[in-house]
């Protein structure tokens, strides 16, 4: 995944070209909190096959 952003033309390359500072760090265990909002389906309904 790091390779994708670091490659020439990748987002890091583009940001650096624009003199923007960016750091990327590899982690072996990232924790991401759950989404606390509500996902609704008020307007859509399933099409029964």
């Amino acid at each position: 995944m790091c390779g994708a952003v670091e490659r020439a033309g990748g987002i890091l390359h583009q940001l650096k070209l624009n003199d923007l500072s960016v750091t990327v760090k590899k982690e072996s265990n990232i924790k991401i909190n759950k989404f606390n909002g509500a996902i609704t389906k008020k307007y859509m309904k399933d099409i029964k096959n």
Binding site: K41, Y43, M44, K45, I47, N49
Partner: protein, 237 residues
């Protein structure tokens, strides 16, 4: 002498006859007594047997009734458990179905918009334009979105391959014209896109790009047809 002998002979015959008669009579009496005794015994025996048999049958009947009640209660318990299981299964099925719908794994329909984007001789749509549109639609409460019938799900990426093609959902190449279908509150979606000057429609038109937005009471959006994997992530305990 001869007369005397005859007289004795007659007496003997009479005596023998009487004795024989007595014997026969006593035998008859004996037979009769034995017969009556046997009948009485048999009747007594039958009565006892019947009483015993009735008692046995009664006992068996009671046992059978107990067993029947036990089986009936077991069946009622099974029926109750089956009903509870069916309710649980129905609830789980509904939750699964709702989750699949929210993830974009089912075909859906509802009111919304159909937006058509076309490149012109002066300008072409970019991946960033599509991303901006998707973001605007999400902001306006979109519940389901597709571009050229490719469902947009939470991890959908939209990236440029070259000047002619845009890629989404890993391997789907799309190009102009782009048909973006969205389900949600059509009035709110429409007003968000048509914000004077800063709305997506005006921004595209200023850039000489063609855009049409059509309201629909029944937009149909196909499901996401690829596999969603969770190879690297796992739920935090």
């Amino acid at each position: 002498m001869k007369v005397k002998a005859d007289k004795q002979k007659i007496q003997m015959t009479v005596i023998i006859g009487i004795v024989t008669l007595l014997l026969v009579s006593s035998m008859f009496i004996q037979f009769k007594t034995v017969d009556r005794s046997q009948e009485s015994n048999l009747e007594s025996l039958r009565s006892d047997e019947l009483t015993t048999q009735i008692a046995t049958y009664k006992s068996r009947y009671e046992e059978t009734m107990e067993q029947y009640e036990e089986n009936r209660n077991t069946i009622l318990e099974y029926q109750s458990t089956m009903k509870e299981n069916k309710e649980s299964t129905d609830l789980l099925d509904k939750e699964l179905n709702d989750t699949e719908t929210l993830l974009g794994l089912t075909d859906v329909q509802g009111e919304g918009l159909i937006i058509t984007l076309k490149d012109t001789d002066e300008a072409t749509y970019t991946a960033l334009d599509l991303l901006t549109l998707i973001n605007e639609l999400k902001y306006a409460g979109a519940e389901a979105i597709s571009i050229n019938d490719n469902r947009v799900v939470n991890l959908t990426e939209i990236t440029a391959i070259n000047n002619s093609f845009i890629m989404m959902n890993s391997d789907s190449r799309i190009s102009s014209p782009y048909t973006v279908k969205v389900i949600g509150d059509k009035s709110y979606l429409m007003s968000t896109l048509n914000l004077k000057n800063s709305g997506f429609v005006d921004l595209m038109r200023v850039n000489n790009l063609e855009i049409t937005v059509e309201e629909s009471k029944n937009v149909i959006i196909n499901k996401y047809s690829k596999e969603i994997t969770a190879e690297k992530m796992k739920e935090v305990e």
